[in-house]
Amino acid sequence: MIPRQALTIAVALLLGSCAKSGGVTLTVWAMGAEGAAIGQLIPAFEKANPDIHVDVEQIPFTEAHQKLLTGFAGGSLPDMAQLGNSWLPEFEALSALQPLDDRVAQTPVIDPADYFPGIWDASRIDGQLYGVPWYVDTRLLFYRRDLLKRVGFDHPPKDWAEWRRQMIAIKHLVGPGRYAALLPLNEYEPLEVLGLQQAEPMVTADAHGNFESPGFRRALAFYLETIRSGLAPAVANTEIANLWDQFDRGDFSFYITGPWQLGEFARRIPPARQAEWSTAPMPGPDGPGTSNAGGSSLVIFRKSEHQEAAWKLIAYLSRPAIELQFHRLTGDLPPRRSAWRAPELAGDPKAQAFAVQLRRVEPTPKVPEWEAIATMMRTVTEAAAHNRMPVDAVAAELDRRADAILAKRRWMLAREKTATVSGGAGRS
């Protein structure tokens, strides 16, 4: 009995002393490579703020969504986290996030005007700001300049029609067994981007699916035709053994992907062949197109007891100089235009395509169910790529399933409306 009591007391003392060694321990969740990189930015922050100790936890992207929700359900969320923009509406619906407008107003370092407008907007929901953009992600074309030149084009596609012509020409060049583009069936981003380029939103304000709109049907037709006609293979990205190898060999010449691939392509393609590829903003239906306003923001969770300290870290990480440092560590692109004036970004043509695209970005529909809807969209189109279902039928199916997913939201919106009407605190 006595040894156990002694042990308990010793442990309690130890724990107590840890917490009391002056100040605050801030818990942060970061995903993927960013998680590793943020760890390298922390020491300087801690030196400038000796009473704050930062504990970063790295979470794989594939587990992040589930972990965050489980953390919310289990009451074990950290103080702050890196949160993907497309997930912000979900966590706002859970009332998990702390609104940050007041703090931003009091912090000159964070100047909203310095951010790409589409990106800043992505973190606003119902007029309130819930996250400070940390790095941006948008999708655009990575393509083989040399192969394009060989089929007679000296510039990347300006619109869909030209893109289609270029893909046909390249397919003709490379022959059977190889393709013009890679549109992995288990990635919903390509179709999502094509959908965002349309005038009509993919989810209406009254929580209905809008996939049968003329705009989306056009996008869907373009996407499915590209795969069904053999310009792109009907495969998932898990079936591509080595993406960069196969891009270099010419197995496909167009790939829609994001900024992290700048570094990967630079590393994994032989140095002698680096001039053969480049990037270009997305072509739209009738001219230069928009892309998704992706990326991650830094958020503070409402239940955090160290919000002051968390804000200090956010302010520190939002300094243009620190954003540039972060960029050097990860290849991620900064959300602040002033950071883009640095020579390494301003002078890199492959990165400049992103700067151009970032001026034309749209956030994904700001409904909590978007992740589920996008996943559903992916599975329906994956099946459609393998079969011959007509585009209109696919669109109708997408709408049917989206409506089912959004049913609860419609019920809640209706409830809110009746609450407002029956004299509850009005929300204009």
């Binding site: 794989p60 587990e63 359900a73 289990g74």
Partner: protein
């Protein structure tokens, strides 16, 4: 007769190869240079064996920590589960109490219920009890298992009643009888049970995935699953991770296999 003998033995070798080839290949690939395995025809043996993958694994991920977590949890689960199950199994086998047989039949019926059904509400329950993100939370479903109680009961039924009666006549209390007569007699099944619980806990990954949030508390299977989903391309690294995950359980199995197999046998056949 000779042809039959060749047929039987050849089939055995073939099936044996099927059974063990993936494991041997796993070890082989784990010793290959990064990128070596992604070639056609696939190499069976490393050209220049290296421990590099293991080094990278331990240096860049918290493998040692995950290994320790798994070890501690599996040991605790083994001890706790065996203790709880052996007491209950003995009681169901040898001690009369009201509703005993009906209760046991209900427990058996529960074997058909997939454990995953309980997981979601169990998670919420653990949240209320403050067990989320803790070792205790991970151990909660392993404290007592119907299968364990069943195994012990089957085995305990074979303990001669006369032995127990004689002890009672001599004035020994039930607890004493349990400790000095039943437990020694049940030792073989205890080994089976402890091994079973250790293996089950070591390999469990869905529950730890859900209940643990801190990365540094993760167990090996969860860490390996994450690794596999993140590093689809780095096959040699993943094989090294697989070796680290499998080596302890295979070693344990090799050590206790005689008891383990006969215990499983006894439990599954009788009754």
């Amino acid at each position: 007769m000779k042809r039959q003998k060749i047929l039987v033995n050849a089939s055995m070798w073939l099936l044996g190869l099927f059974a063990v080839a993936p494991l041997l290949w796993m070890v082989s690939v784990s010793l290959m240079q990064p990128g070596e395995a992604a070639h056609f025809p696939p190499p069976l043996l490393p050209a220049h064996p290296t421990l590099q993958n293991y080094v990278i694994l331990f240096a860049t991920t918290d493998m040692a920590r995950f290994f320790l977590n798994s070890l501690i949890l599996a040991t605790l689960a083994s001890v706790i589960s065996t203790s709880f199950n052996v007491m209950a199994g003995y009681a169901f086998a040898k001690l009369e109490f009201r509703g005993r047989d009906a209760l046991f039949r209900w427990l058996l019926a529960a074997l058909v219920i997939p454990a995953q059904v309980a997981m979601i509400p169990l998670f919420l329950l653990c949240k209320e009890l403050g067990l989320v993100n803790s070792y205790a939370g991970v151990l909660v479903p392993s404290i007592a298992t119907v299968f364990g109680i069943f195994l012990v009961r089957q085995y305990a039924l074979a303990i001669p009643d006369e032995l127990l009666e004689a002890a009672r006549i001599d004035g020994a209390g039930e607890w004493r009888i349990f400790r000095s007569i039943a437990l020694p007699a049940l030792t073989p099944i205890l080994v089976t049970l402890a091994t079973f619980a250790f293996l089950a806990s070591w390999s469990d990954f869905l529950w730890p995935l859900i209940i643990l949030n801190d990365t540094d508390m993760q167990t090996l299977p969860v860490a390996l699953a994450n690794l596999a989903r993140e590093h689809v391309q780095d096959i040699e690294l993943m094989m090294a991770g697989a070796v680290i995950t499998l080596a302890p359980v295979l070693l344990l199995f090799l050590m206790v296999q005689r008891y383990y197999l006969s215990g499983l046998l006894a439990g599954s056949i009788k009754g």
